[in-house]
């Protein structure tokens, strides 16, 4: 279901709300139908109650309004499954039972029997109880005065309930209610809050003479340490012990110093080590007096920010109870209080996120990056010449320590300065050899500045690197609005550090961070990285519709029921441009426009968020950022419709394995706001509620997805090269297949017609209920009806098929349809011709939409084997070459290249490429005893690009001549 709120007319929110309400009256959403059918409680009620329950992210809001908050369950949590089971059971209880106070009390009784490891369950229970309570209350209030409930009442209500819980429970629970601490159980302070800062001591500031360590530290590094008055320390006998134990705390940083510019040292941080030597008040003076004139490594430990009760620092004000959805505007009290919260106490972005996302400590990972000989640099020719330091031309570089590539940066600057004189266009890349390692560099010239990215070819193939370069460039654009401002503003430094460390770890495939499954590999990752798009998982029609409806409801912003009366008639503070939903690393559903989806996905991809939610269960993830989507603000809107020029915010909320990304707009039709606003708790809450809606057992998207991922039967079936080589028939070969189509003897277009004709005939066969119709054929029938949007062939047409699939944002997704909840069973689909299945692998990529499809890991696992592994390696590598040829086609479509002919001309030969195939031969080593030659394996890797920029890559055995057109068609249009 395509819903482009961003493209819609300039609407009055009230009118829209009304009309939407009317709509929903007439056509209740599918999930409601389901719920009615099962007699369950209506799900939207969850929406009302959630926004104020888990507000742990609140105090992590950055000064500029950005937020990156992740809380992760312990990945090694063994009891996850049992807990899950428990929860399901509990939920069943709820749904079957009456919603009464009895339930609440029952739960409170159950609590003490739980072990400590279940504390997140406790939270959920408390939260669920809250639901019940509020719901109850809500109904109550509505009954009483027929008006909307007052949030304040609810809030106090919640408090009471929480208190009642904590009576019989551990104190940790009560503590966690108010603040919902992120780091109590999982993150031990040692591991998470250590950060290393590399600074060059400013020896010029230092005069000879006896200075104390504190003064030296300030002069050398610009770090002001807390000074203690020794008189207050009591008698001198205790002095030494106290001095030894007292921590070295940062009081402030000197503005303009290196310490401030690096943006990582904050007031309250504890200085632990200097150059790996532990520091204390005893050796402080000594250490700082003997600093060398080289870069030094300062290790800090950031203080824990756990909440008011654990505050070890007087400066942290007592936690203000969060006010639920009052402060969506910029002038709201809660927001203005945000800066006074101890933002600086939080470890700055950077290491923190790397740790959270990758679960690895910084030192190990920086060693990995250093060994890789890769670099990200932002150089400038525009250097102030009054400085004598040799590194003025580096505005930014990552990793922090210099390597060979930073040493020879002059080469890059000169090269990019000289070559345009000769060729008339800018340098894109260069290849170098250093000690036998081939290194590729990518360049982007930006006025006087140069953005450089380099990595060894063994780690990143050149084509993938060039894609990575353009992706990083776009990500930076999305995050900061322009490349040069991103690198030239010192406060962005830590954010860029974080972005590049994540992106490079992922792209370089740090084996400790990127955990390959048994089936994926270096080559597959390199290939997948070259596809700028999200990987899509196709659900069954019904489940997809469900996702669409839930997202649409959220996007409709019909929040009247949950708004305070005073704000009911105000304009919305944000306009939801669209949203998309990820499960693990799959895109389930997107209501964003293609280029916006690409931007959002780039953000998610390069922050490794999908990797995070894939690897472990995320308890809570809230990200809020102002973004600058590329498509917006440019004059590309359709005529007659001026696109509103507002500010855009990206809100990502994650829970368990689900990620909901929403693009919000301020200005335009929503309330315009001049100032930067922080995350709006109301919208965050609504997004969380939407996620919970997906989790509720009426929808239970998680189960659908897992079923889809774990079943072998839903995609086009694959066969193993090993089985073909040894001649063993797999079980798949025994299944009934489509009648083979004739690939030969007819020109291309006729083949498609043939296929269609055949499909139609199958459809007729099944609707006619002929005896010969096999399950596969029956599926054909329903498929046909699906394709033509005609419900006559489908047995399930009564389930709200009013949504037209033809206009869907994702037409590509008809590739496979899982029907989990249906009784309709899909047998394996064969896309190759001939009586035996010969398909090894396939990838289908829609360049316009930016989504791609491939077999699930489970499907790949079904055709596992030693030879198959090699086959797939070759498939991925060959696909990179094929894509490169296709890329030439895309480049030639660029109208600029025609207007501005180059000096060297353009090679037109393969501009209109349609198909590119490579045949591989594998000759197994002959056993010594056998005389006859071993059988050889021949297989094709074929890529095809259609005129609508859809790319299909397949790998199949050459036994039966295949037509790639036909395979592409079948992959693209279902079976």
């Amino acid at each position: 279901m395509a819903y482009f709120s961003g493209n819609g007319p300039f609407y009055d929110p009230d009118i829209e709300n009304k009309s939407l309400k009317e709509n929903s009256m007439q056509n209740p959403p599918l999930y409601e139908q389901r719920q009615r059918a099962t007699g369950a409680r209506p799900a939207p009620e969850t929406r009302k109650s959630l926004d104020k329950v888990q507000e742990g992210w609140r105090k992590h809001v950055h000064k500029q309004g950005d937020l990156f908050y992740v809380e992760v369950n312990d990945p090694a949590q063994g009891q996850l499954n049992s807990y899950q089971g428990f929860r399901d059971q509990e939920v069943n209880n709820v749904d079957n039972g009456d919603l009464s106070d009895e339930y609440v009390s029952l739960q409170s009784v159950q609590y003490p029997t739980l072990t400590n490891g279940y504390s997140d369950t406790e939270k959920r229970n408390s939260f669920r109880n809250n639901n019940r309570g509020k719901e109850h209350n809500n109904n109550h209030i509505q009954l009483q005065n027929g008006k909307k409930f007052k949030p304040k009442i609810l809030f106090s209500d919640r408090k009471n309930e929480v208190d009642s819980h904590s009576i019989g429970d551990s104190p940790s629970l009560s503590r966690s209610i108010g603040s919902y601490s992120p780091s109590q159980q999982q993150n031990s302070p040692k591991s998470s809050k250590i950060k290393h800062v590399y600074l060059l001591p400013n020896l010029r500031n230092c005069r000879n003479g006896e200075n104390s360590g504190i003064v030296l530290c300030e002069r050398l590094f610009g770090i002001i340490l807390c000074q203690y008055n020794s008189k207050s320390l009591g008698n001198s006998g205790n002095l030494e012990r106290i001095v030894r134990d007292r921590k070295v705390i940062v009081q402030d940083v000197v503005p303009g110093s290196g310490a401030e510019l690096c943006g990582q040292i904050h007031r309250g941080d504890m200085l632990v080590c200097v150059d790996d030597e532990e520091i204390s008040w005893l050796n402080l003076d000594l250490i700082f007096r003997s600093v060398p004139n080289t870069q030094m490594k300062l290790t800090f430990q950031a203080p824990l920010v756990v909440g008011p009760k654990q505050s070890q620092n007087q400066r942290i004000p007592p936690m203000v109870p969060p006010k639920p959805y009052l402060n969506s505007g910029s002038n709201s009290p809660a927001l203005s209080s945000t800066p006074t919260l101890p933002v600086k106490k939080r470890p700055p972005m950077g290491e923190d996120i790397l740790y959270l996302v990758t679960g690895e400590e910084k030192p190990g990972s920086s060693v990995f990056i250093r060994n890789c000989l890769c670099t990200v640099m932002y150089l400038t020719l525009d250097t102030p010449d009054n400085q004598d330091s040799g590194k003025d031309d580096i505005l930014y570089h990552f990793p922090a320590d210099c390597n060979k590539l930073t040493e020879i940066r002059g080469l890059f600057l000169t090269l990019c300065g000289v070559v345009p004189d000769i060729t008339g266009d800018q340098v894109n890349s260069c290849a170098m050899d250093y000690e036998g390692v081939k290194i590729n560099m990518m360049f982007l010239k930006d006025g006087q500045d140069l953005f450089v990215l380099g990595a060894p070819e063994s780690r990143i193939p050149p084509f993938t690197l060039s894609v990575l370069m353009s992706e990083l460039q776009q990500t930076i654009w999305v995050l900061f609005g322009s490349i040069s401002s991103a690198f030239r503003t010192p406060k962005n430094r830590s954010q860029l550090d974080q972005l590049f460390s994540l992106a490079l770890h992922s792209a370089l495939q740090n084996p400790e961070i990127i955990h390959h499954g048994s089936l994926t590999s270096h080559a597959s990752k390199a290939y997948a990285d070259s596809l700028t798009g999200a990987r899509k998982l196709n659900l069954s029609d019904d489940n997809k519709l469900l996702c669409d409806e839930i997202l649409s409801e959220f996007e409709a912003a019909d929040f009247d029921d949950y708004l305070e009366e005073s704000r009911l008639h105000e304009r919305r503070s944000y306009n939801i441009l669209g949203s998309c939903l990820f499960y693990k690393d799959y895109l389930l559903c997107s209501h964003l426009q293609a280029d916006e989806l690409r931007d959002v996905h780039l953000f998610i991809k390069h922050h490794c968020l999908l990797h995070l939610v894939c690897r472990q269960t995320v308890e809570e993830l809230v990200i809020w950022r102002e973004v600058y989507p590329k498509g917006r603000g440019q004059e590309s809107s359709p005529p007659g419709y001026p696109q509103p020029r507002g500010r855009c915010y990206l809100l990502i909320v994650g829970r368990k394995h689900l990620l909901l990304s929403t693009l919000l707009e301020v200005g335009g039709c929503s309330k315009s706001s001049g100032t930067v606003s922080g995350p709006d708790p109301f919208y965050v809450g609504q997004a969380k509620a939407t996620l919970l809606q997906f989790e509720s057992d009426d929808t239970n998207i998680r189960e659908s997805c897992e079923n889809r991922l774990n079943s072998e039967l839903h995609g086009p079936s694959l066969v193993s090269a090993d089985s073909i080589l040894t001649g063993n028939k797999t079980k798949k070969d025994d299944l009934i297949h489509l009648t083979p189509l004739k690939p030969q003897g007819s020109p291309r277009i006729r083949q498609i017609e043939d296929t269609e004709a055949e499909l139609i005939s199958h459809g007729r066969g099944s609707t006619a209920g002929s005896d010969t119709s096999t399950p596969v054929m029956r599926r054909q029938g329903s498929k046909m009806s699906y394709g033509s949007n005609d419900s006559s062939g489908s047995a399930n047409s009564n389930k709200g098929k009013q949504v037209s699939k033809v206009g869907s944002t994702f037409d590509i997704n008809s590739l496979h349809h899982a029907s989990i909840t249906e009784d309709r069973i899909i047998h394996n689909i064969k896309v190759t011709s001939g009586s035996d299945n010969v398909l090894f692998h396939y990838i289908s990529f829609d360049t316009v939409e930016g989504v791609y499809l491939g077999p699930t890991p489970q499907e790949l696992a079904a055709s596992q084997g030693a030879v198959q592994y090699q086959v797939l390696q070759n498939f991925y590598k060959a696909c990179l070459h094929i894509r490169k040829v296709f890329q030439g086609k895309l480049a030639s479509k660029n109208p600029n290249s025609i207007d501005d002919p180059s000096r060297f001309g353009h090679n037109w030969c393969f501009d209109t490429t349609q198909e590119h195939g490579v045949l591989f031969r594998h000759t197994p080593l002959a056993p010594h005893d056998s005389k006859k030659a071993p059988p050889t394996l021949h297989y094709w890797v074929v890529g095809r690009i259609s005129s609508d920029m859809r790319e299909v890559y397949t790998c199949f055995h050459e036994a039966v001549p295949q037509s790639a057109v036909e395979i592409a068609f079948r992959l693209g249009f279902g079976s």
């Binding site: 080469l411 070559v419 060729t423 266009d425 250093y434 060959a878 180059s902 490429t913």
Partner: protein, 424 residues
């Protein structure tokens, strides 16, 4: 020892582009010596292009190539004394093809000047004068892809296969014997018609260079040029003597100090007069390059057949011998050449290994050997397969069905390799 840097630039201009002022030059190729200011490219620009490379090598980094949207620049050092820099249209192909070209140029310097002059430059001014004799040959190597043959691309010498080859072989052997030389070769229309056994034993580089050298010189009835064989005997000067038999047909021999040109000249008429009719017949075969008794598929627009072991290649972009003016809708002869060359560049180095040095790196990435490949476009289709020492690259019209290309190509290959008159 002075290390001199010679920089060769070469531009390949497409037909469509004539805007840029620097390229309004009669030839399509420009050759520069770094110590001279030539044309619009100022000395500092060339100097810094070389300086970039030198800076890298002083830091232990060797800069290999760089690309812009349309262009590609390749650096390569030879004999630790000369650096060649080539600028060309970005071919989107493996670097091995550009390196092969630079390799040929470096060998050309050795061919005409000798290894001592090139590797041990004592006087720069003298070297500049010496190296001028190579310019014609270098220009020929860098000729635009539409007009040149396939020799410098495939690093295998272009041949022409005629039924008369067997007879002409006898004539040549006899003539070479008379010239007291093992090295004898008959060139027809820039392609090798027949050659002696010893001639074929030369390295691929030498075969290609000698072929290019003969075609680069202005036509004359006979000449005597000192040459060094860059791979086998780079320090020993030989004499290359050529005699024009009839238009575009030359015979050449490589000798030691004797016999002199004057001695051999009268012999030419005596030996070759009986072969005149055969030579004329072979000459008429030229654009087709293979015997008329072989009938190939009518969809075939052109092919390139390379033998990796013998370093020979046979190409034809006009297999049906149509009148070029009646080609109609299909690609022109020049376009066919360009497509075949681009296709070859895309395949070799990425999927196939050939006698082009460095081309084995790409295919080594695959654990299984790529055997066949194809690309289809809206206007034409290309297919390639390798079998034993042979690699065939074919170009078809778009009317051939994709599934048929494989069998047609296989059949074409077997026709060409099984025919007794064709020895690739």
């Amino acid at each position: 020892m002075i290390s001199v840097v010679v920089v060769f630039f070469y531009y390949i201009f497409s037909r469509r582009i004539t805007i840029e002022p620097t390229c309004i030059v009669q030839t399509k190729i420009k050759t520069f010596l770094i110590l001279k200011l030539i044309l619009q490219l100022p000395f500092p620009v060339i100097g810094s292009l070389n300086g970039v490379h030198m800076f890298g090598s002083s830091h232990g980094v060797s800069l290999q190539s760089t690309t812009t949207d349309d262009a590609k620049i390749v650096w390569k050092v030879f004999h630790e004394s000369i650096t060649l820099i080539a600028v060309s249209q970005d071919d989107d192909a493996d670097d091995c093809h550009m390196n092969n070209l630079l390799n040929l140029i470096a060998s050309a310097l050795v061919l005409l000047c000798g290894i001592d002059e090139v590797s041990n430059i004592k006087n720069v001014e003298r070297f500049k004068k010496e190296v001028k004799v190579c310019m014609q040959l270098v220009d020929r190597i860098l000729e635009s892809p539409e007009t040149s043959g396939f020799s410098q691309l495939t690093n295998a010498v272009d041949i022409i296969c005629a039924p008369e080859n067997a007879i002409l072989q006898n004539f040549l052997d006899a003539f070479a014997e008379a010239a007291e030389s093992g090295f004898g070769c008959l060139f027809v229309e820039r392609k090798v018609c027949v050659a002696t056994k010893k001639w074929w034993s030369m390295s691929a580089n030498e075969l290609v260079l000698l072929n290019l050298l003969l075609t680069s010189l202005t036509p004359c009835s006979s000449r005597d040029i000192p040459v060094f064989l860059p791979d086998t005997q780079p320090a020993i000067p030989h004499r290359l003597m050529t005699f024009e038999l009839t238009r575009n047909i030359e015979v050449c021999v490589i000798c030691g100090p004797s016999p002199s040109l004057a001695e051999l000249e009268p012999e030419v008429v005596r030996f070759w007069k009986p072969a005149y009719d055969s030579l004329r017949t072979v000459g008429r075969l030229s654009p087709r390059n293979f015997p008329t008794n072989i009938a190939l598929d009518h969809n075939l627009l052109g092919f390139l057949l390379v033998n990796k072991e013998t370093n020979r290649c046979l190409h034809s972009v006009n297999p049906s011998l149509e009148d070029p003016s009646h080609l109609g809708e299909t690609l022109s002869i020049h376009q066919r050449k360009e497509v075949l060359k681009t296709f070859y560049k895309k395949m070799v180095g990425n999927f196939f290994a050939s006698s082009v040095s460095g081309s084995e790196m790409g295919p080594a990435e695959f654990s299984h050997q790529p055997m066949e490949s194809y690309i289809t476009t809206e206007t034409h289709k290309c297919y390639t397969l390798q079998s034993g020492p042979y690699q065939i690259f074919t170009l078809y019209t778009d009317s051939i069905p994709t599934y048929a290309m494989r069998s047609v190509t296989q059949r074409t290959l077997s026709y060409l390799t099984k025919d007794k008159n064709v020895s690739v």
